[in-house]
């Protein structure tokens, strides 16, 4: 278990503000992508402003958030990010969020691999009891990926978002430590 942050397709890394800024600057102009990610309306932010925002994060010692970039093993390309937020260590609970800004890498297992690494980090390093997430009901690709790594539906916040004249649900999903451990044991037995 020496390489906790390395998976089969990707690894999770910490990046400098200017690196993330140059990627966010491009990704956030892709409004289709933003609509899978955020309830806030899309806005266009300059690379300079992104850098300032991320510089500010350097100074604040956030205890309830953990953020990693996702890089491919094959070419070291930075394709997205994954993070924990609403991290309540005293309850052993957190929410996870993931996004791949590079569309060429969608639907090929990169996100699923990154999520598997993050769960391993959450359960083996942070010793959390559960990991939860929120996904928009129209993001069916993401829901399939989350099911694949073992997240279980926990209900829907009804009609909480309005887009294109329709109202949409948030789906909540979660995986308990014991469920994840059982899956690990199962995967070992399969081999």
């Amino acid at each position: 278990m020496s390489d906790l942050l390395r998976g089969e397709l990707v690894r999770l890394t910490a990046e400098n503000p200017e690196v993330m800024a140059s990627n966010f600057f491009l990704w956030y102009q892709d409004t289709g992508w933003v609509r899978f990610l955020d309830t806030d309306p899309s806005r266009l932010t300059s690379e300079k402003k992104w850098k300032e925002l991320l510089d500010k994060d350097l100074d604040k010692e956030s205890k309830d958030e953990i953020f990693f970039a996702i890089r491919t093993l094959e070419s070291d390309k930075l394709i997205g990010f994954i993070g924990l937020f609403e991290l309540f260590k005293h309850h052993g609970d957190t929410l996870v969020a993931i996004a791949l800004g590079e569309r060429d890498y969608w639907g090929k297992g990169y996100g699923t691999d990154a999520m598997r690494i993050m769960l391993r980090y959450a359960f083996y390093e942070l010793n959390l009891r559960r990991v939860g997430l929120i996904v928009f009901e129209y993001n069916t690709r993401a829901i399939r990926s989350y099911e694949k790594v073992g997240f279980i539906p926990e209900g829907s916040v009804r009609r909480v978002m309005q887009r294109d004249g329709k109202r949409w649900d948030f789906k909540y999903m979660g995986i308990l430590r014991e469920e994840w451990l059982a899956r690990q044991a199962g995967e070992v037995n399969d081999q």
């Binding site: 309830t39 309540f88 009891r129 009804r158 909480v160 978002m161 309005q162 109202r167 909540y172």
Partner: protein, 195 residues
């Protein structure tokens, strides 16, 4: 409902602004009831001194002023203007017409007298008829059965159970999301008019 209406006047209580002289003493006392703190937040329950409470009130008014995503009201007795609790509309997302609610009656002896119900009814009318929001959310732990019953009695529907999200006193509890949609609230208004 007439346009010329007092939105903050209930039957037993009224919603009012913070009184920076009187209220810090009272609310500091309430924060020493950790069960109340636990019901309101997942952060570790922590009592606040009167001085800390004064600072907090200043921070609240600053946030209300700057963020435009928050309303904070004290709940006061119509009889003697005593502060009985507080209520908040938080995390307003104007784009989607959504928000979260919090409501607290501070003193254990003042609970179950209808003050909370009275305040929630004012809050619902304010959120739907004045702010034009579409839905209200509350998050309640499974360790707060009185809170769950309260919101369900007022029409909130259980939507999500985040399994074992709370760890308290060596026990785990689900975190429950409840919601009320505008059309559900309107249907209830119709019923109460027929009564």
């Amino acid at each position: 409902m007439s346009i010329d209406t007092q939105l903050f006047e209930g039957k037993l209580i009224r919603l009012g602004p913070i009184n920076h002289e009187k209220d810090p003493d009272m609310e500091s006392r309430w924060t020493h009831d950790l069960s109340l703190m636990r019901a309101l937040s997942r952060q570790p329950a922590l009592p606040l001194s009167v001085a800390q409470m004064k600072k907090k009130y200043e921070a609240i008014e600053k946030e209300v002023d700057e963020s435009k995503k928050l309303f904070h009201f004290t709940i006061r007795s119509r009889e003697d203007d005593q502060m009985l609790g507080f209520t908040r509309i938080e995390w307003i997302e104007w784009t989607h017409g959504t928000c979260s609610l919090k409501i607290a009656i501070g003193d254990l002896l003042e609970r179950n007298k209808g003050f909370g119900s009275d305040a929630l009814q004012l809050l619902m009318r304010f959120a739907f008829s004045e702010l034009n929001l579409y839905r209200l959310s509350v998050v309640v732990g499974d360790d707060n059965q009185a809170g769950l019953r309260f919101f369900k009695r007022h029409g909130f529907v259980e939507e999500v159970r985040r399994r074992k999200s709370l760890l308290r006193d060596g026990q785990t509890w689900d975190l429950i999301h409840l919601g009320l949609l505008r059309e559900e609230w309107q249907a209830m208004q119709g019923e109460s008019h027929h009564e």
